[in-house]
């Protein structure tokens, strides 16, 4: 068995990067897709047989519902609002997290003063703030952006803070002796050293921004995917709920792809050394 496998791999190497390689990647993709396909098939089969369709809907119904939502244009206002909230919440949270994490990481004095406060706020379940934010920022996009960005902020903040603090002191001293001023030190040493941590924080923050936005919309809103899902579930429309979830899945997947591409570009030196970024 293993002999066959090794022979076929030799054959494919002989064939050169051409057709053999394409066949191999296609096979890999197929193997990757298999569990997902199996799940979908089982879902389709079980719906109405093992579990009532009113509870779990079925894939074909979800697809039909998605098509209907997009062709009628019903979903676009929701998408537009949620999309804005996600992007704004994420960007504000990341920017704040990088800035605060970097400042506190660079200054032990600031860190000593502010770290206990940040720790205390970190401990608060941010979801509990949703009602408060709605009072403060209204039921429009402001409250959702605030909730998403505060969730993103803490994740990014802690990663960047840890990243900047982990920079080897000797590396810093050497660069100073080589003639670096503070600005050059930041650009040549601290930022690149913190980059893997920043990227990790940014990746982890993607699902959290979605949670923040959706929870905000669940709590109170006039438009958005969260509201759409909420309404679908309270009118016993599981196909609608799943359709909403599929769209969110699309958001997260696209965001992950973008983050992965940025990461591969920024952290090329790590990929080459064999300890490449972990694909989430």
């Amino acid at each position: 068995m293993s002999e066959v496998a090794s022979r076929s791999s030799i054959a494919s190497t002989r064939a050169g990067g051409g057709l053999g390689a394409i066949g191999e990647t296609a096979l890999q993709w197929f193997v990757k897709l298999l569990p997902g396909l199996a799940l979908l098939v089982f879902w389709q089969w079980a719906s109405g047989r093992l579990i009532k369709e009113i509870y779990v809907s079925k894939p074909t119904a979800v697809v039909a519902r998605l098509y209907e939502l997009f062709s009628s244009g019903e979903i676009y206002p929701h998408l537009w609002i949620t999309g804005q909230e996600l992007v704004l919440g994420y960007v504000i949270g990341v920017a704040g997290g990088v800035f605060a994490g970097y400042s506190l990481g660079r200054s032990p004095r600031l860190a000593r003063i502010f770290e206990p406060y940040v720790m205390a706020f970190y401990g608060i379940p941010k979801i509990a703030l949703a009602p408060l934010f709605i009072i403060w920022f209204g039921i429009g996009i402001g409250s959702k952006v605030a909730l998403a960005s505060i969730m993103v902020f803490f994740l990014v903040f802690y990663n960047v803070f840890a990243g900047v603090r982990s920079v080897d002191r000797e590396l810093v001293n050497l660069t100073l002796i080589m003639g670096a001023n503070q600005r050059q030190l930041t650009y040549h040493v601290f930022l690149p050293a913190a980059a893997p941590f920043v990227m990790l924080g940014m990746r982890l923050a993607i699902p959290y921004s979605v949670i923040g936005v959706i929870v905000g919309e669940f709590t109170s809103s006039v438009q958005g995917l969260g509201l759409f899902i909420h309404e679908a579930s309270s009118t016993y429309d599981p196909a609608g709920v799943f359709a909403g979830i599929v769209i969110l899945l699309g958001f997260v997947t696209i965001a992950n792809l973008i983050a992965g591409a940025i990461e591969r570009r920024l952290l090329r030196w790590r990929t080459l050394s064999g300890s490449g970024p972990i694909d989430a």
């Binding site: 000797e170 590396l171 660069t175 100073l176 003639g179 030196w269 790590r270 080459l272 050394s273």
Partner: protein, 263 residues
């Protein structure tokens, strides 16, 4: 013109001891000097504060007592006129070898055209031509070390501080590196302060060997090594006079090892 490039004058250093209110005296009244273009090796038992002396010369640490003068100027802050080669190569992992070696020139505002030429030259002299595009993680330990030395030579400091630079290398690589360092330091004409705990290495490389005692460290001896150059790094005992020179250093050093305490 004063020929004494670097002068350590009555250096004393105390460090707070962990958990206690008392201070540990590490260095006590150490004085020696390095003339232009001389190679000074500093040896002593581990933990005696050899590396601390280098940190003072680089301005990373102010001595508790005494002063370090570099060209007659008291060192009180980061000294950018020296070069520092640490124990580990410490190349920046996110820069290629070429970018790493170029960095000091970038920091010092050298124009791009001249940077390129100087990087090419220095990489050639340490034998790393063709590896500019490699990241440090793609280089062997010895090559990283060469890169680290090139990064220092490239901005032509007149004093190079080396902190057990070959300690982590295997025996063969080490001999080759010692031999190349002899050539490079003779060519560069720089003053070198070389910290090591290896007597053979000290005797082979240095014009003067400074022997320190155990903590609190005092200067036991400052021994001139008058072996002709270039010296043979691969077969130490074939250098005429090596045995006598080694003996002179060992006689001073022996008492410190027989004192028996391992720090």
């Amino acid at each position: 013109m004063d020929d004494r490039v670097l002068v350590f004058d009555g250096i004393g250093q105390d460090f707070p001891s962990p958990g206690q209110r008392t201070q540990i005296r590490v260095l006590d009244g150490i004085s020696f000097e390095a003339a232009r273009g001389k190679f000074i090796a500093v040896i002593g038992p581990s933990g005696c504060g050899k590396s601390t002396l280098l940190q003072m010369a680089a301005g990373l640490l102010l001595p508790t007592r005494g002063t370090v003068h570099h060209h007659g100027r008291k060192v009180t802050s980061i000294n950018t006129e020296v070069g520092f080669v640490p124990q580990q190569a410490q190349l920046l992992p996110w820069k290629t070898l070429g970018e790493n070696v170029e960095l000091p020139l970038v920091l010092r505002g050298v124009p791009a055209q001249e940077r390129q030429k100087r990087v090419d030259d220095v990489l050639g002299s340490v034998g790393l031509t063709g590896f500019e595009q490699h990241f440090p993680s793609q280089l062997s330990g010895g090559m990283q070390k060469r890169g680290s030395i090139a990064r220092t030579l490239v901005y032509r400091p007149d004093v190079i501080l080396m902190d057990e630079p070959f300690g982590a290398l295997d025996a063969q690589t080490r001999m080759v590196m010692q031999s190349d360092l002899q050539t490079l330091s003779m060519e560069a004409g720089a003053t070198v302060i070389f910290v090591t705990h290896d007597i053979t290495e000290a005797v082979l490389l240095a014009d003067n060997v400074v022997v320190l005692s155990q903590r609190p460290s005092r200067l036991l001896a400052n021994i001139a090594i008058d072996l002709p150059r270039p010296r043979n790094m691969f077969e130490p005992f074939k250098n005429p006079g090596f045995a006598a020179a080694y003996d002179a250093v060992w006689t001073e050093f022996r008492s410190q090892i027989q004192a028996g305490q391992i720090h």
